[in-house]
């Protein structure tokens, strides 16, 4: 069975400092993994996806994630946080055909 665990329910950073949102996955085969972002009162937006090509995946708005099979991790990073990055972030694994399993979510707060 496929599952993901987001290790932090809340992360707080200062504007201009790095962002790290942690995600571990469990999968019986090579997974496809995603990060989605949800801004307040907005729909979910795909940030980036990993589908067994390059292990370092670049997404929108300066985010990237690295797939590490040995650590079963898919952490999301950004070198410098911006106020507009404040949102809830979801790590997601697919079971195929659009059946997604979501992590519990990490709320990112960015302080001025």
């Amino acid at each position: 069975a496929q599952s993901v665990t987001q290790l932090d329910s809340h992360v707080s950073v200062s504007e201009g400092t790095p962002v790290l949102l942690r995600c571990n996955y469990s999968s019986s085969y090579s997974p496809s993994l995603f990060w989605y972002v949800q801004h307040p009162n907005k729909g979910l937006q795909l940030l980036l996806k990993y589908t067994s090509a390059a292990t370092l995946v670049k997404g929108i708005n300066g985010f990237e994630a690295e797939f590490k099979k040995s650590e079963t991790s898919f952490h999301l990073t950004k070198p410098s946080a911006h106020m507009s990055d404040a949102a809830e972030y979801f790590c997601v694994v697919t079971r195929g055909y659009g059946k997604l399993t979501f992590g519990q979510g990490t709320i990112l707060t960015v302080h001025p």
């Binding site: 009162n41 729909g43 589908t51 055909y97 659009g98 059946k99 979501f102």
Partner: protein
């Protein structure tokens, strides 16, 4: 751009009422999905459909049913609403995909409160 439209942003219903949540997509996608979102639980799949008149149970189908009479429209039905169905409901759609093309398009959600 793909648009997935949910008919109501906020909905308040009473226990025992029959509730319909409507979702329409404008990109001729084969696949449509209903998820519910609860704090600390992420999103959980309720039902999905791969084609007109087809439906499959997701992870938490109890208390729900769905209808897909037309390709662009996917309805979620709460036969007898209960307070534990108070939640944010998200509809999504996608075209048939391979591993390299997996992407869901989500609506903005319907916040349902059952009193």
């Amino acid at each position: 751009d793909v648009k997935v439209t949910q008919s109501s942003r906020y909905l308040v219903k009473r226990t025992g009422e029959k509730v319909f949540l409507e979702c329409v997509q404008d990109m001729d996608h084969e696949n449509m999905f209903w998820y519910r979102q609860d704090p600390g639980l992420g999103l959980r799949l309720i039902y999905f459909s791969y084609d007109v008149k087809m439906k499959e149970k997701g992870d938490i189908p109890e208390g729900y049913s769905v209808s897909r009479e037309k390709k662009e429209r996917f309805s979620l039905i709460l036969e007898s609403a209960s307070t534990n169905q108070t939640s944010m409901y998200l509809c999504a759609s996608s075209t048939y995909w391979g591993r390299q093309n997996e992407k869901l398009f989500f609506g903005s959600g319907t916040q349902l409160s059952v009193l």
